[in-house]
């Protein structure tokens, strides 16, 4: 069994056969244009048994928003093993190689939606956030969304050439809200989605762009339901105006299924408790480069200095004794230097603090705002001190979400 990047001239028939066996029937016309650039960029790995494609794993080039700053993130997808090769370590070999590749290419973070969690946990991923779908009677939306006069006039249909602006507008909304978790795709992908037939441009799927907001939605189940993929906006007026566009379908579609985060304004805009979470999918996170991941994200304006003891066998560069400092919204993870003149015993910092012990999984969950008390109860953290726990919770507090599945 050899694991190597898929070459650009590889056998698409084998690829689709594997995809169909692993995930069920796929729409090849929709899948291929999405995978081709991934293969071209060397981001797709295959496991080969002679000429037979036994498994694949790939990643997308993404940015993930963490407290209002975009961190480069490798979004793992398409991890599949042919049925007759399962249970033989093929998935592990692929994921180990992919982790290596993503780290080599400098991604501080990686995220994925697990079909099974065991393998990803063993490689350092941990549950970090969710993707929610809420079900709302569409009439409840139309009652809620009365646009301010003039706001509707600033909404237009974006085309392929608006890809950069769409990404800018979505990113600005996440930055302004200091969101944790949502991702933005690269410009080439967005351009493809805005070109027919794409994610936002086809006979049943639509997008609307405002100077500070974006709406993507599509028909579902004929015209019984609309699926509102996202309403993101920086201003209240645009939020309302975009919801009004989606809600105007209430005369035809009975329900709206909508992807919203747990703090989405929608929950506070509806008059009654008409929205219910219909789907909640967990995603997992891994820190590939701990110092870079800490330096790149945003933090609240809180000060802390906490010693950490990280054990990460798969990414040994993350292992060791670190000092985590956060000051004025900027985090830093620096290698702990023992002061030769210090009388403090080994295992404790010069300040006398015992470091908080974390594995790769605990580190990922902490990064995503899981309270340290929860990490301790789940067996993902130990050591440290109550004061350090409180400081860490204050710095990382978040309820991460995503509006994309991949």
């Amino acid at each position: 069994m050899i694991v190597r990047p898929l070459a650009q001239d590889f056998d698409w028939d084998q690829y689709f056969d594997l995809t169909n066996r692993a995930f069920g029937p796929a729409d090849e016309a929709m899948v291929q244009p999405g995978i081709e650039p991934v293969v071209a960029a060397g981001r797709a790995l295959g496991a080969f048994d002679g000429g037979r494609l036994a498994g694949t794993a790939l990643y997308h080039d993404m940015r993930q928003w963490w407290h209002g700053r975009a961190v480069p993130m490798a979004g793992v997808a398409g991890v599949k093993v042919a049925p007759e090769y399962r249970g033989q370590g093929v998935g592990r070999a692929l994921m180990t190689a992919l982790t290596e590749l993503m780290a080599e290419r400098g991604y501080p973070l990686s995220a994925l939606y697990p079909a099974t969690m065991t393998i990803y946990r063993s490689l350092g991923w941990e549950i970090a956030g969710h993707r929610h779908e809420a079900l709302v009677p569409s009439r409840a939306l139309s009652v809620m969304a009365r646009p301010e006069p003039g706001a509707a006039a600033r909404i237009r249909r974006p085309g392929p050439d608006d890809a950069a602006e769409v990404l800018e507008v979505i990113g600005r909304a996440h930055r302004d809200a200091r969101d944790c978790g949502p991702i933005t795709w690269d410009e080439a992908t967005m351009r493809r989605w805005l070109t027919r037939p794409g994610r936002y441009a086809d006979k049943d799927r639509y997008a609307y762009l405002a100077p500070d907001g974006f709406l993507g939605y599509r028909w579902r189940h004929g015209n019984d339901e609309i699926f509102v993929e996202r309403v993101v906006a920086s201003s209240a007026a645009t939020t309302r105006a975009l919801w009004a566009v989606a809600a105007s379908n209430s005369t035809v579609a009975e329900t709206a299924r909508t992807q919203v985060g747990p703090s989405d304004p929608l929950w506070w805009m509806l008059r009654e408790q008409d929205a219910n979470i219909a789907e909640r999918e967990s995603w997992m996170l891994r820190l590939l480069d701990a110092p870079a991941a800490i330096a790149a994200r945003g933090f609240p304006a809180t000060d802390l200095a906490v010693p950490l003891q990280i054990t990460d066998d798969l990414r040994p560069a993350n292992s060791g004794r670190w000092d985590l400092t956060v000051r004025a919204g900027q985090g830093r993870l620096s290698s702990h230097r023992t002061d030769p003149g210090s009388p403090s015993p080994p295992g404790s910092s010069p300040g006398g603090q015992t470091p908080l012990a974390l594995g790769a999984r605990g580190l990922a969950a902490l990064y995503a705002g899981t309270p340290v008390a929860t990490l301790r109860r789940a067996g993902l953290a130990d050591g440290g001190s109550p004061d350090a726990d409180a400081a860490l919770d204050g710095a990382f507090a978040a309820t991460p979400f995503m509006l994309d599945g991949f």
């Binding site: 506070w268 999984r361 301790r376 109860r377 130990d382």
Partner: protein, 417 residues
């Protein structure tokens, strides 16, 4: 809307009030109460009426509406704040749509304020009434579900975390009505240790009554509490509580529940969104079965702010302008200060109407909130969300960031009332 009833009298219920008539009102509002519960309710009513925490609306001698509150403590960032838990808000069908509920809730809010509660929470059957009186959505109460089999062989503690798992297994002992204080103390330690936001504590008498229920299996460990019962005959289990300070005890509780795999199919459980539960199963077998949302009202703003905990490392000083018609004492210009884990809300006095043209009136740049926005902020709703939902205005981006850091929370409850 039909005319408001002319002869409506609103007053606290008294032990002499007819319990059968109150029960009839409750059944018309919420559905029929099964036999055993019915007798228990009837017996307990005079005692509840004696507390003065139930109001009734009467047309002549006929009770046409009711509303009451429970005496509770609510945890906010690891500190307990007295909270009036509103429940049993009901109006007889023929009196609905005539303003009776609003009159009653106005009186109840006055009573809650008069008794000094800084906070009030409720589970709304409808929201416009409560919003018009200053309650706003604040948190969730989840019922989660997992196959019992998934609780056998929990994910072990991370081997990278040295000493976890090396401590001895906790001893579980059965808890009865005499353990009410111990149960309250154990749950209090859990919520305090996690600096939880939202969970409530009931009084000892209520907890003792609950522990006396024969269908409830309750266990105390040194640092936690487990309580569950059968559901759907013996097909499933329903877990009221499985909360503990330490990982060993959390694990022992869920392993205990996993021992039912020979009999039961699923475990339904009340637990919070950041509960260790979500990180214990090997596979993604756990899900949220049902989510209810509860609303909060800040009844006495300075007391509510002073009574709760805040993150220790966060300090801020932000001017607020609050407009609260139903509780005018909350209205006005305030300075919110947070430092060292504590906070104050101090009056700034009236905005100056005259001043040098070159200076900006600080009041005009203050974060402006109504009662609803204040409640949602208190519960950790991000300022960006409040602005988009039309619940906040004014202030600066720096104020927003500071307030978000101070109030950050994902509040939850484990109780229904």
């Amino acid at each position: 809307m039909a005319d408001p009833p002319a002869d409506l009298e609103i007053r606290p219920l008294q032990p002499g009030d007819d319990p059968e008539a109150q029960l009839d009102l409750a059944e018309r509002a919420f559905g029929v109460i099964p036999g055993a519960h019915r007798d228990r309710r009837l017996r307990s009513m005079p005692g509840h009426f004696a507390t003065g925490r139930s109001l009734g609306a009467f047309a002549g001698r006929q009770p046409v509406a009711g509303a009451s509150f429970h005496d509770m403590r609510q945890w906010w960032h690891g500190r307990q704040v007295p909270m009036a838990g509103v429940a049993g808000v009901m109006v007889a069908p023929e009196y609905r749509g005539r303003g009776v509920g609003r009159q009653l809730m106005t009186a109840l809010l006055d009573e809650i304020a008069a008794r000094g509660y800084p906070l009030s929470a409720l589970f709304p059957a409808t929201m416009p009434l409560y919003r018009s009186l200053g309650w706003e959505l604040a948190g969730a109460r989840d019922t989660v579900v997992i196959p019992v089999r998934s609780l056998r062989g929990l994910l072990p503690p991370d081997a990278a975390v040295s000493s976890a798992g090396s401590r001895p297994d906790p001893v579980l002992r059965r808890a009865g009505p005499g353990d009410a204080d111990a149960v309250i103390a154990a749950l209090g330690r859990v919520h305090q240790a996690a600096r939880d936001c939202g969970p409530i504590t009931r009084d000892a008498a209520t907890v003792a009554e609950w522990l006396a229920r024969p269908d409830q299996y309750a266990y105390l460990a040194g640092d936690g509490f487990l309580a569950y019962q059968w559901q759907n005959g013996n097909r499933d289990l329903y877990v009221e509580r499985a909360e503990a300070v330490s990982g060993q005890t959390v694990r022992a509780f869920w392993t205990h529940l996993g021992s039912y795999a020979s009999m039961a199919e699923k475990v339904y459980a009340r637990t919070g969104p950041a509960s260790a539960f979500w990180w214990l199963a090997r596979e993604r077998d756990a899900d949220i079965e049902h989510r209810s949302r509860w609303m909060l009202r800040v009844v006495d703003a300075p007391a509510a702010i002073a009574g709760r905990g805040f993150p220790a490392a966060t300090s801020l000083s932000v001017p607020l302008r609050i407009a609260d018609d139903a509780r005018p004492a909350n209205s006005g210009r305030w300075q919110l200060s947070v430092s060292g884990g504590a906070s104050t809300l101090e009056p700034l006095g009236p905005a100056s109407t005259v001043g040098p043209a070159s200076t900006v009136d600080p009041a005009s740049t203050a974060v402006t909130l109504g009662a609803r926005g204040l409640a949602a902020l208190y519960a950790g709703t991000p300022l960006g969300t409040l602005r988009q939902a039309g619940l906040a205005a004014g202030g600066t981006p720096e104020d927003d960031a500071a307030l978000d850091a101070a109030f950050a929370a994902t509040p939850y409850m484990l109780d229904a009332f």
